[in-house]
């Protein structure tokens, strides 16, 4: 059981407000870890702490047993790839240019033949060959996301971090991308850590899951262990039904939000009545 990524007691605060408290996790080689939790629970922050975009204490994050704080950013970027939530390109770059940026940790001035080979193969792997010379800003959301993943893959990372990789995509693109990620993990090419807000996607495509509530780990383990009706109610504040999908994984059907107090219910009812009577 090779542990690719280990996190010990990670805490992080923005200024004086704590965002993450005492987070522990472990990701094995070829595993997909899905991190879920409501807005503001610290999913994005956790990812950024892992690849040192946000600075944490020493001896907190380990890759292959090595403390990441001992590596410089360049060495770290040869190990970890990061796909942010939204992709922004202020200037017009082609798809090829952007994927080529993924080779930055290995290039001094100009890409070598080896680099070009890797870029071409990555483009091919993600089915982006026809789009290679197109401008990034002219692509659809799904295609842009693929390009960003291609860029991260060009880094030849051991760990791939993705922040909401499928949030703005249509169903087809969602599935395409998730299958690609699963493929990558299963072929032991890299391990994947992704923050997802769609519980069913997380359930279907993760080997292990982490549920965060207000910066702390509420639940960890297999999807079956984590996605229980009690957990969902406690963390998300909704009533849900959890069944088994055709794939054999837990499927969450949200039912209704649990109102925080009776008073708000009555006031919303009276508001609607007032509106109607006008």
């Amino acid at each position: 059981m090779e542990l690719r990524l280990t996190i010990n007691n990670l805490s992080f605060s923005y200024g004086s407000s704590p965002v993450l408290k005492g987070v522990d996790l472990a990701v094995e080689l070829g595993e997909v870890l899905g991190i879920v939790g409501p807005n503001g629970s610290g999913k994005s922050t956790l990812l950024k702490c892992i690849n040192r975009i946000l600075k944490t204490k020493h001896n907190t994050v380990f890759v292959d047993g090595k403390d990441i704080n001992k590596l410089n950013l360049k060495e770290l970027s040869k190990i970890m790839g990061y796909v942010p939530q939204s992709s922004l390109s202020v200037f017009p770059f082609t798809v090829f240019d952007i994927v080529m940026m993924g080779r930055t940790p290995y290039i001094h001035w100009s890409p070598s033949e080896q680099d070009y080979k890797i870029i071409a193969e990555t483009l091919d792997f993600l089915g982006l060959n026809e789009l290679a010379m197109r401008h990034f800003n002219e692509l659809s959301g799904g295609e842009q996301q693929k390009v960003m993943i291609a860029r991260a893959l060009a880094q030849q990372p051991k760990i791939l971090l993705l922040d909401e990789p499928t949030s703005n995509l249509d169903i087809k693109h969602q599935l395409e991308i998730l299958y690609i990620l699963k493929n990558l993990a299963q072929s032991k090419y890299c391990s994947i850590v992704m923050a997802i807000h769609d519980l069913n996607i997380a359930s279907r495509f993760s080997d292990k899951m982490l549920m965060l509530k207000k910066g702390c780990i509420f639940a960890a383990g297999t999807p079956e262990n984590v996605l229980t009706e009690e957990n969902i109610e406690a963390v998300y504040g909704i009533k849900a039904q959890v069944t088994k999908s055709i794939m054999g994984k837990p499927q969450v059907i949200p039912l209704e939000p649990l109102s925080s107090n009776e008073a708000s219910e009555t006031s919303s009812r009276s508001y609607l009545l007032n509106i109607k009577s006008r």
Binding site: K48, N51, R52, I53, N72, L73, K74, E75, L76, S77, K78, M80, G81, Y82, P84, L88, S89, V90, F91, P92, F93, T94, F96, D97, I98, M101, G102, T104, P105, I107, W109, S110, Y116, K117, I119, A120, E121, L123, D124, L128, N129, A132, M133, H135, N137, A152, Q155
Partner: protein, 360 residues
Amino acid sequence: MRLNNRRDSRNSYIESKGKKLFGIFCISLVLLVTAVISVSLGAASPGFVEAVQVIFSKILPFLGIDPGSKITQFIILELRLPRILLAIIAGAGLAASGATMQGVLRNPLVSSYILGISAAAGFGAALAIALGIGVIGGVGWYLIIVNAFIFSWLAMVMVYGIARLRGVTTETIILAGVAIGYLFSALLSLIQYVAPEYEAVRAVVFWLMGGLNHATWESIMILFPIIILAIVLMVLQAWNINVMSMGEEVAMSLGVTPKRVLTITMVLETLATASIISFTGVIGFICLISPHIARMLIGSDHRFLIPCSSLIGACLLLCSDTVGRLLLQPTEIPVGIVTSLLGVPFFLYILISRRRRIWS
């Protein structure tokens, strides 16, 4: 089939790279032609033939070409040629700085004066002029240059210092730059009000308009190596700038330290811009327009963009100066005015044409 596709994307890229290099080569030719035309035009009589004679008699003395009268030689070699070279090197430096700063600050409306450098240099020069520091005494002109240079650096240091308070990022640098720019603008206006000599006030205004008439071989010899050095170092940072323009988080995930890149580019940019301003006053728009044009021709890869932008900047400034020299004889329109006038139709064009959005 798949094998072919893989080759295709790489080949298309290599092809596009070849096109870009060819484009740069073409622009270099345009620059050369413009330079030749400029050296042949002027208020005095020496024209194309005389210019060629003079120049070649110097470069290839063994051919024994007759250089013409002393005055012809003087006009070509001491007046026109230094001025043309100054236009080229200043235009290149400003354009390269503009492209670099736009890339690193992720903002296509940034000029190389974003760090408040132009206002600070203007203030430094005005201080020297207005306090009459040795101007009447005759030595003072060099003091004006030095002062403008010193204050430009002061502005950069102040911007960097302020930015450090909140972390050196794109936003903090832009905001700090704006603030420092306003500070020195206000101080400059104060100087203009207080200046003991009326002529000093007018002189400051003229200096701020930007002019290339102080071109001498000495100034070329000082400026040339500085600008070439700055541009080369900027191009070496080009890859990092590419990555920075995708966002600071992405940059960090690719192993690029934004703070380091920002610092290096700020220093290079100040070096180039401050040196140029000290000799030419404030010439606007070259640093803004050249990167845009270059981007339309050659894309955003800064390894090509920065050199291309430099060449285009050199062409633009050279043209502007030649027009300014010749339009209303015997007077010369300060080159800063011509470039500002250039800026208007350019930006209108961007506004109106919807062909391709230059930025998102």
